[in-house]
């Protein structure tokens, strides 16, 4: 059975409707092809970066000097015409970026640590509900670059610190000084990749620790012997069980209590977690113990003189290794920086193609927001003229004077001839008194204008003329107050309740519930007021701040 249209005719689809879809499909196919092409080719990172620079700068030049294009009706539709070639070029550049990042990661032996980064992505995914976690490959390029940059920066800093520390260590070895902090040593242990060096260093450090705290180690030895052989006590008199020191070393035998704490803090701390995340094997304290065979074996070789003989040569070797590592890290950092720069260029090209000129301009010509400025000119009383401020203190005084002047009344004794503010109480002004029938004469000018006596007669006469009958009439109060402008709330004398409970509930109940407490707010939140009853609210508002001052005699 054939389906027919509304008017009995067959339904015919217009192909032009799906033009955009087909265009999109074609483009997608092309992108896929390009991705395959670029994935197969393998280049060095330096070659890739050079190629990227050429392409991105060429694209920008092409777009920048192309000029505005013309639309279908001859009107200027868009600044830049989006051609397929340009779009493909951008896709190609993006793919190249991905490859360059992978190259750098493989050079730094970070490629196997992607699972660590992915776990970070998983955590983020969990936090954002409704969004699945993103793997490192699927992350956008700027975030990838940011990750790598932070990792590399941390590495380079740590390497610097390590080399510094080892030089200090060298110096202290020569002069028989005290050992530096334990926390620094752990960093170096983690930095060096070879397990042999870790072994050696750990032994060395442990020796030094023992020298400091011999008694504690002997005590530990005694505990081990006790626990292992069950009352098979050794004849060594030096290693005696000391019950006073037992509580200090419960968890890890052979490790001083302070050291254990420091290590745990380091491993759990935010700085170190990121650092260990870059390693091939995620290091814990247990794995560190595995690396250094076991502490028992170390204890057995405490008195060996082999390590002490090799120490100077060993330190020099490690320093050389660190120098190499630092140069490598710096080189990779520079590569990543250049990649970041190139990516910015390519984003500019992209923004130009999509006609987001505002975004493009904001990225190219961005402005730093500055804090509110101070006033820079101050009144010099000795010279009777304005001059530039000399220091910050003067600038602050100048701002105080300048803005204080704007917020202050005129220096005359009366502000207005027809209106006078009633005296100021504790809570503020008490009201206004209007006197529209007042006739202003020349004698009143000094009280109305500051230094009125010094003014010329022309100004004085103009001022008096301005206070004529026409303007005087403007200050006349109405015979009867308008009913609409009465204040709707007032308190009853006896009960202390307000006149219209329902209105009070609307404005102090519902509205307060709408106000959420702010994160940086000190004191109480507005929601607190909602908990109080109406009497409490009114009492609070009245007692603290003089708000809702109303006359009880008023009636709506």
């Amino acid at each position: 059975m054939r389906r027919t249209g509304l008017h009995g005719n067959d339904l015919v689809f217009d192909d032009t409707q799906f033009k955009s879809c087909s265009k999109f499909r074609d483009q997608k196919l092309l992108y896929d092809k390009l991705q395959k092409k670029t994935a197969n080719t393998s280049h060095t990172t330096e070659y890739l970066i050079g190629d990227l620079e050429k392409r991105a700068s060429g694209l920008i030049k092409q777009l920048w000097y192309a000029g505005p294009c013309q639309g279908v009706d001859g009107k200027e539709n868009k600044l830049v015409h989006i051609s397929d070639d340009n779009a493909l070029e951008i896709a190609y550049i993006v793919n190249k970026f991905n490859i360059a990042i992978k190259e750098i990661m493989s050079d730094m032996s970070l490629i196997s640590d992607l699972d660590v980064l992915d776990s970070a992505g998983q955590k983020r995914g969990r936090l954002r509900k409704g969004k699945g976690f993103r793997q490192f490959d699927n992350l956008p390029i700027p975030t990838k670059i940011r990750y790598l940059r932070t990792i590399l920066l941390q590495n380079s800093r740590l390497i610097k610190r390590a080399s510094q520390w080892i030089r200090e260590f060298q110096f202290q070895q020569e002069h028989n000084l005290q050992t530096p902090q334990w926390s620094e040593l752990i960093h170096i242990l983690a930095l060096l990749e070879d397990s042999k060096t870790i072994d050696k260093f750990s032994k060395l450090l442990y020796n030094m620790a023992i020298e400091e705290e011999e008694e504690r180690i002997r005590h530990v030895q005694a505990i081990i012997h006790e626990k292992a052989h069950h009352a098979n006590k050794s004849n060594d008199t030096s290693a005696k069980f000391n019950p006073q020191l037992e509580h200090q070393s419960n968890t890890l035998p052979g490790v001083p209590d302070d050291l254990e704490k420091e290590i745990n803090d380091l491993l759990n701390g935010s700085n170190c977690q990121q650092f260990f995340g870059t390693r091939k094997h995620q290091l814990n304290f247990d794995t560190l113990l595995d690396c250094t065979s076991s502490w028992k074996d170390i204890i057995s070789t405490i008195h060996s003189d082999e390590i002490d003989a090799d120490v100077p040569n060993f330190i020099e070797d490690t320093l050389q290794k660190l120098d190499l590592a630092s140069s490598k890290a710096n080189h990779k950092l520079s590569q990543i920086n250049s990649l970041q720069f190139m990516y910015r260029k390519s984003t500019h090209a992209y923004l130009l193609t999509v006609n987001k000129i505002g975004d493009f301009v904001s990225k190219v010509l961005f402005k730093d927001r500055s804090a509110p400025a101070t006033h820079t000119e101050i009144w010099d009383a000795s010279e009777q003229a304005l001059r530039q401020c000399l220091n910050e203190r003067e600038e602050l005084i100048a701002t105080q004077e300048f803005h204080g002047h704007w917020m202050d009344n005129s220096r005359a004794t009366e502000t207005c001839a027809f209106a006078k503010v009633l005296e100021v109480g504790k809570l503020g002004y008490r009201g206004i008194q209007l006197s529209p029938n007042r006739v202003v004469t020349l004698a009143d000018v000094p009280s109305l204008i500051h230094n009125g006596n010094k003014l010329s007669l022309e100004i004085k006469e103009a001022f008096v003329r301005a206070h004529g009958i026409h303007i005087r009439n403007l200050f006349k109060p109405p015979h009867t107050d308008l009913r609409e402008l009465f204040y709707p709330f007032y308190f009853h004398d006896k009960n202390g309740t307000m006149n219209e409970e329902s209105r009070v509930e609307i404005f102090f109940g519902k509205r307060l519930r709408q106000y959420p407490p702010r994160p940086g707010m000190t004191g109480f939140s507005l929601q607190l007021l909602d908990v109080l009853d109406n009497v409490g609210k009114s009492f609070f508002l009245l007692s603290s701040n003089s708000f809702l001052l109303c006359d009880t005699s008023l009636k709506v």
Partner: protein, 345 residues
């Protein structure tokens, strides 16, 4: 609660000019918000404000001014009557209005002594202001003006600016005679009638958005026009001197439409002066003006002043004053009507 922190944000391209945004206490703003809802509703109910005042009112805004301006300009093209637009701008309107004037505006417009006015007066008492800058914080006392950040201040500002609109409504006996002479204008030919009437008809002849206000005048003779301009300028100056609210002279512009070349020559030769209150004393200020001339009148003027023989500097001086009609704003209307007719056919 009466503590305010101010941020003097400097204006771009202007030395020693700031936009002082003030942050008020949460509870202070909250209570003020409640009070403004009641007071502004009362003001609208009592029909206190003029139709032309459009700032911070329900169902009004700058968009309502566009139609007025456009219809005024269209009328200028259709009828060849001499017309004037007086633009006025207050200096630091929010920050500089004295408390006495604020409270007087409320009282004059029918607010009773108790209630809102009492509340406002108590709230306006001396406040502490901390001025926040990049170099540190200083303290000052806030005695006069309205906070830019308080929900209550726009409604009160509207009441204050009503003084200006009221001043423009003042009709002396001399002005009455001028109005009575205008007979041929008394028809409904124009979309926008900007003649001042005093027989009870509601006419929009003055518009304003907060501190920017303008007054439109149209008469038959050029002599009458100049008399009215003089009158309205004087009135504005008198108000400035009584209320001590300064007028910004550079922004107060007089725009002339449909006047002859002869009058423009006279205007260029004399200086128009207005009074205003500035820095604790009244001063005289020259008011800039702009003339929109028709092409024929422009040619006549150029021949009168020998424009071609003048030096470049003198020519630029004249160019600043004169603008040739048709006015740019009217281009839109013509194209719209053309397009619609094309669509119908």
């Amino acid at each position: 609660m009466k503590k305010i922190s101010r941020f003097p944000i400097p204006k771009t391209g202007k030395a020693n000019e700031y936009r002082p945004i003030s942050l008020c206490h949460d509870l202070y703003c909250f209570l003020n918000g409640i009070i403004t809802t009641y007071s502004s509703a009362g003001i609208e109910k009592a029909n206190i404000l003029h139709v032309g005042i459009t700032a911070f009112r329900k169902g009004k805004g700058c968009h309502s001014l566009v139609t007025v301006e456009q219809s005024f300009r269209e009328d200028c093209l259709e009828g060849n009557y001499p017309t004037v637009q007086l633009d006025e701008d207050e200096e630091k309107f929010f920050d500089r209005v004295p408390v006495a004037i604020l409270l007087a505006a409320m009282r004059v417009n029918g607010f009773p002594n108790q209630g809102y006015l009492e509340f406002k007066a108590s709230a306006m008492g001396a406040k502490e202001v901390e001025i926040v800058t990049c170099k540190g914080v200083t303290y000052a006392k806030f005695i006069c003006g309205l906070e830019q950040g308080n929900p209550d201040s726009p409604t009160v500002a509207n009441l204050v600016i009503k003084f200006k609109h009221d001043v423009w409504d003042i009709v002396s006996e001399e002005i009455k005679k001028i109005f009575l002479r205008q007979k041929s204008l008394d028809n409904e030919k124009y979309a926008f009638n900007s003649i001042d009437k005093f027989d009870g008809r509601v006419i929009i002849c003055k518009i304003g958005y907060c501190d920017d206000n303008s007054k439109f005048i149209r008469v038959e003779n050029e002599e009458d026009l100049m008399l009215l301009v003089h009158h309205y300028l004087q009135m504005a100056g008198d108000l400035s001197m009584t209320t001590k609210i300064g007028r910004k002279g550079s922004k107060c512009v007089i725009q002339f439409f449909n006047i002859s070349a002869h009058l423009t020559l006279q205007l260029a030769q004399c200086t128009s002066i207005a009074w205003s209150f500035k820095h604790d004393s009244p001063i005289k200020e020259t008011v800039p003006f702009l003339v929109h001339l028709e092409p024929a009148e422009l040619d006549k003027l150029k021949t009168m002043i020998h424009y071609d023989t003048l030096s470049f500097e003198e020519q630029t001086k004249w160019d600043d004053i004169i603008q040739s009609a048709p006015h740019r704003h009217l281009g839109l209307l013509g194209t719209l009507s053309g397009d619609t007719s094309a669509l119908i056919t």
